[in-house]
Point group: C2
């Protein structure tokens, strides 16, 4: 089995950031959208641009990142990948100055097995080199020189051209295949 270097994004890959944004949208605009409502739709078919701007501004608030839920099976699978491969957490945290210490603390609570050497807070992810990048944003995947995996999220439903992974159990299966192919 080949040992792979795997870079993993945080928001909407490890942490359920969208859930918190939908809750904020509900509070601010009285909506009641659930993640499954976005299936196959463009994000802006349900969330108006001007409303999203208002919600997105809240990401800059102190505390936004502190209490995000962990996505299902993320802990077990990332722990498994960490045992068999080389895992780096790569978050574009620089956009949100308050997020740095909150993200550090969040990782320490939920993923204490990740060493500080394996955490990267950056902006433009084209500076990252690894075998695999698991991310929910095209802007991060498009410049990546390794194997890009698109983590399914409510805002990327209509994006094509990437291998899409829907759950952490699916990520595990894909990585196991890659490691045995290599």
């Amino acid at each position: 089995m080949k040992k792979l270097r795997i870079a993993i994004d945080m928001d909407d890959v490890m942490a359920n950031t969208s859930k918190k944004l939908l809750q904020l949208h509900q509070t601010l605009f009285g909506s009641n959208w659930q993640p499954e409502d976005f299936k196959g739709l463009g994000f802006q078919e349900l969330i108006k641009v001007e409303e999203y701007q208002v919600v997105r501004d809240k990401i800059f608030d102190v505390g936004f990142f502190a209490d995000l839920e962990v996505l299902p099976n993320a802990v077990e699978v990332i722990s498994y990948l960490h045992e068999h491969h080389e895992v780096f957490i790569v978050s574009a945290a620089m956009e949100f100055p308050n997020s740095l210490s909150e993200k550090q603390t969040w990782l320490g609570i939920h993923f204490p097995f990740i060493h500080w050497k394996n955490i990267v807070f950056c902006g433009d992810k084209s500076i990252i080199t690894a075998d695999v990048l698991i991310d929910d944003h095209e802007k991060n995947l498009v410049t990546f020189q390794g194997i890009p995996l698109l983590f399914d999220a409510i805002h990327n439903q209509t994006l094509g051209g990437y291998q899409r992974v829907h759950t952490w159990l699916e990520v595990k299966a894909v990585i196991d295949d890659l490691a045995h192919e290599s």
Copy 2:
């Protein structure tokens, strides 16, 4: 002229971290070493390991990174490189949890032209891909796949095997050469 992607370390490359450490050593142990005293010497010929451990623990204190001096000509030359190339600041800040916001603020004060997209706080720098890496530590240069430049510092005087740059004006000349050669 080729546009290069240049990754630049912070401590002892942009910021005069050693100066502050020597000042702390002076306060704690009554020494009076100046940077030029280390010329050609192993660091531990002047600073005892057990004393260095005491000084180094201070790096974890709140405020350590906030007031570091900028190294001579760093602002002008990095500004010049930023105009002609693609500059990323890459600091192994994760080791010092308090340093993240202090380093962000420090960059904003002294290098306001550096966009958040071009700042990377990491641990193990082998995850970084660029054409040139300017760093004072062998551990960061040894895994780098591009052109490594060793920035002269009091702790790396006996390190061989890398092109050594002593000042920011020398960095400018080396990068100009690389850009015209390429």
